[in-house]
């Protein structure tokens, strides 16, 4: 079989086009545009292509993100709604209808990360408001909802909460012991972590839990034995690429979800890199750019971003190294560290 060539330039073009205008297939994601933007922004950063976006464009993006921030008003209750929205679809003018503007935890997370990657110093972020908005979403069982108006609650949003608290260096945004309890009770018989208690272990939720614990400095809630069982489960996910659960087909994004977790648990060196790379590249779309979840499917920003991350974990030339727990380039993570030192 002819070896597929990695075409970073085409992927940069894909993301740049995406930032200009989102294709119609993504209409369903209209209210979550900030998350899509994050895939493109962080993706371009990892491709070393963000600097080539002109400075004005980057500044415009920063302004757009800040325009999605929800500020509190005189009402004490309004603090619980704070954070960032996913798009201006629900941007309301009148004061009465402002009580309907709620942040979405994944949008708050991607907003902060995108700002850092774009070179902003987070000075216009209303930190106490964001943190209170996050705390308001925590459920009695320790998990987080996405949205004050109500939504499902699971491991994804725990990860979002952890990154937000870590970024703003303010852990009052979560009751940590409760989060630990939820994670522990989501450990399945297979030795890996599900979206919630009683569910099947899953590569995505396992990443969310482990990355959150690493950021919280609490990986020690698991014994060495439990971590070994988890490592075993993760290593068993490689089929060629990686699958998210036993007996499911491999899917590009799991090269990151499972791969990054293995990196965090110091076992990434045991994967078969050649097969993993071959699989990821088999989902590369040479005409349009981007990666899809399976070969012969349309590419989308999520799989493009995580496909690139999957390649970066194997030190693919031309790609930046990633900080596995923060899900951004090591460069951006260092900039965050700098910002945090300035502020203390």
């Amino acid at each position: 079989m002819e070896e597929v060539k990695f075409i970073p330039g085409t992927h940069s073009k894909y993301f740049k086009r995406f930032l200009q205008m989102m294709p119609p297939q993504t209409q369903k994601g209209d209210t979550q545009r900030l998350m899509f933007a994050f895939f493109a922004i962080s993706g371009l950063d990892i491709l070393n292509a963000l600097e080539s976006c002109n400075a004005q464009h980057r500044q415009d993006m920063i302004e757009w993100i800040y325009s999605l921030q929800i500020q509190p008003d005189d009402d004490e209750e309004s603090w619980s709604r704070c954070g960032f929205m996913g798009s201006c679809t629900f941007k309301l003018q009148s004061k009465e209808s402002r009580e309907y503007q709620h942040s979405h935890i994944a949008m708050t997370y991607t907003a902060l990360s995108s700002l850092i990657i774009l070179g902003d110093d987070l000075s216009r972020v209303n930190r106490p408001a964001v943190i209170r908005g996050v705390r308001a979403l925590q459920q009695p069982d320790g998990s987080f909802c996405a949205h004050l108006g109500g939504s499902e609650n699971d491991m994804r949003f725990i990860f979002c909460a952890a990154v937000i608290c870590y970024t703003l260096k303010d852990w009052s945004g979560m009751d940590m012991p409760l989060v630990e309890d939820f994670i522990k009770s989501s450990l399945s018989y297979e030795g890996a972590i599900a979206q919630g208690p009683g569910l099947e272990a899953h590569g995505g939720s396992t990443y969310c839990a482990i990355a959150a614990l690493v950021l919280m400095g609490r990986l020690s809630i698991f014994s060495d034995e439990q971590l070994d069982r988890l490592r075993n489960w993760l290593l068993m996910r490689q089929v060629a690429g990686f699958q998210g659960r036993p007996n499911k087909p491999d899917d590009t994004c799991y090269s990151f979800w499972v791969g990054a977790t293995l990196k965090l648990l110091d076992r990434y060196q045991f994967i078969d890199k050649k097969k993993n790379r071959e699989f990821i590249l088999s989902t590369q779309q040479n005409l349009t750019g981007g990666f899809s979840k399976w070969p012969d499917n349309t590419s989308d920003p999520l799989h493009t971003y995580f496909g690139l991350c999957g390649l970066s974990l194997m030190s693919e030339p031309g790609l930046k190294e990633i900080d596995c727990a923060l899900n951004m380039s090591v460069d951006a993570a260092k900039r965050l560290e700098q910002i945090q030192t300035w502020n203390s």
Binding site: Q27, K28, T31, G150, E190, Q238, K248, N297
Partner: protein, 547 residues
């Protein structure tokens, strides 16, 4: 993101599609605009319901629109009669069903369905179970549906036992049913707890479960879910798991120095008492498991009583040829007779299965775990054979199996030393196929270690930090490259690094050696390495001893 297959269309078809999409986008924007304008206006609730329904049927993932419907329904609850409420909720439930037909994995649709059904005056939760069964027939792995199934079962007032029977049905239908094993693993401790409190599950049921797994494994040995379930049944989660604090394993007190090695990472500073007095000095965590104390006592010969106090207990030290020492044998996995018999029975089954299906890696892997749990020494040879076989059958995970090998080899060697390892003068681990280093905390008092002719990489260097009493270390014939994260080894006098792959990169190896606190080093070999000839050994040794 759901996989969307690429479909080729003609130019004409593309043009038509584009126009359709444009119109859809226009309609969407118009609807959203109106929705935002009238939100909160109770009089326009009916219009609101129509508008949001339109949008949601195409875009079921817009949280806010579901929230708006919830706000309206909360209002309805206050004003409408039971009969009206029933009809409204029924329609709402139908709406979620339409959305689910569109996307069976829509978080919002499942969430809303569960929420709204609670507002029904007479919710038929048992009907929901039937719905779940239908959805699961189409996709057994739909975890949204499984989550909803548990909700429906709980709301139906199903006891854990009844839910357990549900899972039994699902497994009998199809053994390859991961989610069902799951469900079961959560219910078993509730439905069949061990009355004695010694284990998670009552022994009779435990055996039954193992039987189920056996059937599953015989039906399809390549189905990993059954093997994982079996491991869980046999593992320590199912025996009362006590989270133990780090225990002190080895302790040594000599002139100016004391060393304590722990069973696992200990964050608390230990305390040393000699003849009733605290010994002052500087405690440092030299490696993950080892604490070292620099103290002022010049001679330990006259000491009558020495004791170390840690978060995991106290140890009394006794005089020995090398100073004052305490050694605690680490408890291996204690299994009572019943468990042992179970494990042995399971191993027998595995071996039988291997005669029927000799190429199943899961059987080999399970057999390896079982053998290591039963008797490390008895099964060492066979374990190594099976690991070789695993590498053959499952080359994708060769690195992992070699890592397991390294662990088991170490455990085997330690089991041979039994008791004397604490004060052993030297340990040979040469040519042991080691690619990783495990249990080095057990070698904290050893003076000579031979690790030559293995496959060690830089990654293994931190484990050597436990060798705080080691004078002679042979690392020749390995795969070391940079020596990054070479730990601090102040007792080391003789180090052989020959026949590795030490890099030519200017200053790299040199810097790492200088940072390793090798203040006692007298002899260093780096022959047969790319860096040989570039390192000024004499100068290096001189500088090191001045530090």
């Amino acid at each position: 993101m759901h996989g969307r297959l690429k479909v080729r269309t003609t130019e004409q078809e593309q043009a038509i599609k584009r126009k359709e999409r444009e119109q859809k986008v226009k309609a969407y924007k118009a609807a959203m605009g109106r929705i935002m304008k009238i939100r909160g206006n109770v009089e326009l609730n009916d219009e609101m319901l129509i508008l949001t329904r339109e949008v949601l049927q195409r875009n079921p993932d817009i949280y806010t629109l579901w929230n708006i419907r919830r706000e309206i329904f909360l209002n309805f609850k206050k004003e409408k009669s039971d009969e009206e409420m029933g009809k409204l909720v029924d329609n709402e439930v139908k709406l979620t069903e339409n959305c689910l037909m569109n996307n069976q994995k829509s978080y919002c649709a499942w969430h809303h369905r569960g929420w709204v059904l609670d507002l029904h005056p007479e919710p038929k939760w048992t009907k929901e179970l039937a719905l779940c069964t239908e959805f699961l027939k189409q996709d057994e792995r739909n975890f949204h549906c499984w989550d909803y199934l548990r909700l429906a079962a709980a709301k139906s007032g199903f006891s854990p036992l009844k839910q357990f029977e549900l899972s039994d049905e699902k497994i009998k239908d199809n053994f390859s049913n991961y989610s069902a094993w799951h469900y079961r693993s959560k219910l078993l401790p509730l439905t069949h707890p061990d009355p004695e409190g010694n284990a998670l599950i009552e022994p009779g049921q435990h055996s039954y479960e193992l039987g189920q797994v056996e059937s599953a494994a015989y039906t399809d040995p390549n189905d990993s879910s059954a093997w994982f379930y079996q491991r869980w049944l046999l593992g320590r989660d199912c025996s009362v798991a006590q989270r133990q604090p780090p225990k002190p394993l080895l302790c040594w007190l000599g002139p100016h120095k004391a060393i304590i090695s722990f069973s696992k990472h200990s964050r608390l500073v230990p305390q040393l008492f000699v003849d009733g007095q605290t010994v002052e000095g500087e405690w440092l965590m030299e490696s993950k498991y080892v604490w070292v104390l620099k103290h002022k006592i010049g001679s330990v010969d006259q000491i009558k009583k020495a004791e170390v106090v840690t978060e995991g207990g106290r140890l009394e030290l006794q005089p020995s040829s090398i100073g004052l020492v305490a050694v605690v044998a680490e408890e291996g996995q204690e299994h009572n007779q019943v468990v042992m018999d179970t494990l042995k029975g399971q191993l027998k089954n595995c071996k039988l299965l291997l005669t029927l299906t000799p190429d199943c890696r899961w059987t080999y892997l399970t057999a390896v775990f079982l053998m290591q749990a039963i008797d490390i020494r008895l099964f060492h040879g066979e374990t190594m054979e099976f690991l070789d076989k695993l590498i053959q059958l499952d080359p994708l995970r060769a690195g992992h199996y070699n890592d397991l090998r390294s662990k088991y080899v170490m455990e085997f060697k330690l089991s041979l030393m039994e008791g004397s390892f604490g004060v052993q003068e030297s340990v040979s681990l040469s040519q042991c196929h080691l690619s990783s280093l495990y249990h080095f905390n057990q070698l904290a008092l050893v003076r000579e270690v031979d690790l030559s002719k293995n496959q060690l990489t830089d990654r293994s260097l931190p484990a050597l930090g436990s060798l705080q009493m080691c004078r002679k270390l042979d690392l020749s014939h390995n795969c070391l490259v940079t020596l990054d994260s070479m730990p601090s080894l102040p007792a080391l006098e003789w180090l052989d690094l020959s026949n590795n792959e030490l890099t030519k990169e200017p200053g790299r190896v040199d810097k790492n050696l200088r940072n390793a606190n090798l203040t006692a080093l007298k002899s260093l070999s780096v022959q047969d390495n790319p860096c040989y000839g570039l390192l000024d050994l004499e100068d290096l040794l001189q500088t090191l001893s001045f530090k």
